[in-house]
Amino acid sequence: MGWARFLLRRLAGTVVVVLVLSVGVFGLLYLAPGSIQQTLLGTRPATAETIAAIQARYHLNDPVTVQYLRWFGGVLHGDLGTSIRTGVPVADMLGQRLPLTLALTGYGTLLAALAGLPLGVLGALRRGRATDRLVVTAGVVGLSAPPFAVGLLLLVVFALGLGWFPVYGTGEGFGGSLWHLTLPAAALAAGAAGMLVRFSRAALVRELEQDYVVFARARGLSGPVVLGYAMRNSLVPVLTAAGLIVTGMLAGTVLVEVTFALPGLGSLLVDSVTFKDVPVVQALALLLTLLIAAVNLLVDVGYSLVDPRVRLGGGVS
């Protein structure tokens, strides 16, 4: 089949998704109540001329298809437009906020992996015992806890009560950022860690029951080697979970950024959506879709690295 074809297919799929989404979002914003000129002017009075001038400036009177095509033409030329709300080129705005969101999701993923995977493995190895029950419970609680609730709880306990972490802000330098982003990342990571615990434990439990594990033990392979067999095999479902986790984190970051007052993509989305700042919302939709597509692609590459059957095109038997 070849990598080129595979990539091409994925690319085509992503383009379709992006197109559908951009039309959807555009239409949605168009239909939404509220209007840009009202928002710009606020409750202040306005003369008819001013309103007309604003409408002309943002082409608000053009048919919606023309508005969309104008935007789309710009994108094709690499121009994402200018934010109505801030007057800043959209690309700059995204560029400014993307690093924070990436840092947050990256850090969150790392924390989730550091907490979730070992716990999942522990639960699987101690299956049915008290430790396992504890691990499963922790996982389910993590999974069920909305990030904003966890965020508030963390704030109260670790920032306010114990004073270990700062309450808000993004910090300076690498160390400072790390220190500042720890609580938000932890709030994000709770759900992801729960998911990882669940997936990795279930996968490992399943693998440990497989014949090849029994066979490996029966021929005297050492414990670590046998565990290595099972863990490698349980990676595929864990990778699937990882994809879901990163996607979920991008969504969760909205809540966490709001809770911790962090200027990332999530809070930008919330601000821009209510403002009907079409270019920004569109660009965000585009960016998030691409991010998710990239994550899914990475997961697929991960599959083929982990599983030779995927790589070499063998049947799964």
Binding site: P33, P99, L100, A103, V167, G169
Partner: protein
């Protein structure tokens, strides 16, 4: 490119514990309760834009603590005739880029809003302007199309912020963006701006008003109130503006934090759409007006930090025109609809809908106290058989709803941009402001009231004008197009390192940081 950008984005939030007491404060850390997307107050409809912009830019005239107009960039001004205003500029004023302030700069700044096709939010204030001219190197003359007493307030910071002609030309559309920033004559200049995140100001040592106390001001936007509270508790901020009323008790428990409150000249009012059933029935309006427990709301929802509004303008708005005693006297004559459910029932019984009805009342998500007030009203109305669904909507949608005049009942929430008592009286009661996008959201069109307001507009005498406005208010109150709820108070928290002098309703209308001092 990602890493430097990352550092830039994360680089500056205000946590560095700038040890207070250490030769006073070098850096002032301010936490604003909402985000701003642009520094240009004429582009965005939030009051926090002013709080930032007024540290950087000034207007021709300023506002004194008593609410009267004061010299600012204009050393003096005269109303040559009913339609002509002449402003003499202060000499020796320079912009923070070092260039001197000239009459051309002022004309260009005014022109931003007054020129044809202007899209700024201030444009409405200049609709009546005929010409703006530099009639001397330090003199600017403005002529109006028709007489308007209120225009005296227009070149105050509410609707004018002076910048240089060169800057306007060079920056164009990008004024207020992180790139274009602002240029002004104020005590500070913008060092860095990240929309929705923070803005950093550096002292402008050449400010004509003297040397501002802090070398740097870091202003963070923290829309999450609980976070902001925790930030103050953790001593990560020095000044927190607009502490919400329901949180004041909690802020007060923070050791060493000073909480200063003052009227902020804001008005929250119920508006009844007099052109829409069933609200076109005065009995319905009266019934609902009687069902509002304003004292209760002020006491509980606002924790007492506000004042029951007897009418539209805040008493502090009359600064230039009436004395405090005269205001009290005037307000005593305005008919009131106090909280009385029995009367409310009686009124409703007389109306066309004695059995009650249902309607929807929206409030902006940025004003939870409005929501709470609305909920108490809804609760009271239940007893009358009126079902009022209270709905929170995003600020933008709420604004749009106000503009459409489509609902029957509104919650209006207004912040005065000037100290002119006529500001909202004209907007809310004048018959010409009805209809789509008009400011008269009650669609209240009473010829008598409109006539009084017209006469007030062209009057040149403050006392006569005040009398006319008062009469209009009394007249309108009889028809209950509005049920004013409260005049707002805002509370500002000062952290353990700082304090402020002369905190009052006009504290933030001007270079306020110059009045903040290290404790």
């Amino acid at each position: 490119a990602v890493l430097p950008a990352f550092l830039a984005a994360c680089g500056s939030a205000g946590d560095t514990p700038a040890a207070p007491g250490q030769s006073g404060l070098d850096v002032l850390r301010v936490a604003l309760p909402s985000s701003i997307g642009t520094l240009d107050a004429a582009k965005e409809a939030g009051i926090m834009n002013y709080v930032v912009a007024l540290l950087v830019q000034e207007a021709l005239v300023g506002v004194g603590q008593d609410g009267s107009l004061q010299p600012s960039l204009a050393e003096s001004w005269t109303r040559k005739d009913a339609k002509t205003y002449v402003y003499e500029l202060r000499s020796g004023v320079t912009f923070s880029d070092g260039s001197a302030l000239t009459a051309e700069d002022v004309v260009a700044s005014l022109g931003l809003h007054a020129r044809k096709g202007s899209t700024t939010a201030f444009a409405y204030a200049y609709a009546n302007v005929d010409t703006i001219e530099a009639t001397g190197p330090a003199q600017v003359t403005i002529t109006l199309k028709s007489p308007d007493a209120s225009f005296a307030w227009t070149p105050s910071p509410g609707t004018l912020l002076v910048t240089s002609a060169k800057f306007i030309e060079a920056t164009g559309e990008r004024i207020g963006t992180p790139e274009g920033r602002l240029l002004g004559t104020g005590p500070y200049k913008v060092a860095e701006f990240a929309p929705d995140s923070h803005v950093t100001l550096e002292r402008n040592d050449a400010w004509w008003g003297g040397k501002a106390p802090f070398r740097q001001i870091k202003i963070d936007f923290i829309p999450e109130e609980s976070t902001r509270l925790l930030a103050m508790r953790g001593d990560s901020v020095d000044v927190a503006l607009n502490v919400p009323a329901e949180q004041i008790d909690q802020w007060q428990t923070i050791p060493d934090v000073q909480l200063k409150t003052a009227g902020d000249r804001s008005l929250v009012t119920l508006a009844f759409n007099t052109a829409k059933k069933p609200w076109n029935d005065v009995h319905v309006r009266r019934a609902v007006a009687h069902a509002v427990d304003r004292e209760g709301i002020v006491k509980s929802v606002l924790r007492g930090h506000g004042q029951v509004a007897a009418t539209i303008p805040d008493p502090a708005q009359w600064g230039g025109a009436l004395t405090a005693g005269e205001v009290t006297g005037l307000y005593a004559t305005i008919p009131q609809y106090g909280f009385d459910l029995a009367k409310a029932k009686a009124e409703l019984a007389q109306s066309a809908t004695p059995e009650g009805f249902s309607d929807v009342l929206t409030y902006p998500s940025s004003g939870p106290q409005l929501g709470r007030a609305a909920l108490t009203l809804a609760e009271n109305l239940k007893g009358l058989g009126i079902t009022l669904e209270v709905k929170e909507v995003p600020l933008e949608q709420w604004i749009a709803d106000l503009g459409k005049h489509g609902s029957g009942i509104y919650l209006g929430w207004y912040f005065a941009t000037t100290g002119d008592p006529a500001e909202y009286v004209q907007q809310l009661l004048h018959g010409s402001a009805v209809g789509q996008n008009g400011t008269n959201i009650a669609e209240y069109d009473n010829d008598e009231v409109t006539g009084l307001l017209d006469r007030a507009k062209s009057s040149t005498d403050d006392a006569a004008r005040a009398k006319l406005l008062g009469e209009a208010l009394v007249k309108a109150a009889a028809d209950v197009p509005y049920q004013p709820l409260w005049w707002g108070e805002s509370a500002t928290a000062f952290g353990k390192g700082v304090t402020a002098d002369g905190f009052g309703p006009y504290f933030f209308v001007g270079p306020w940081a110059a009045k903040v001092a290290a404790r």
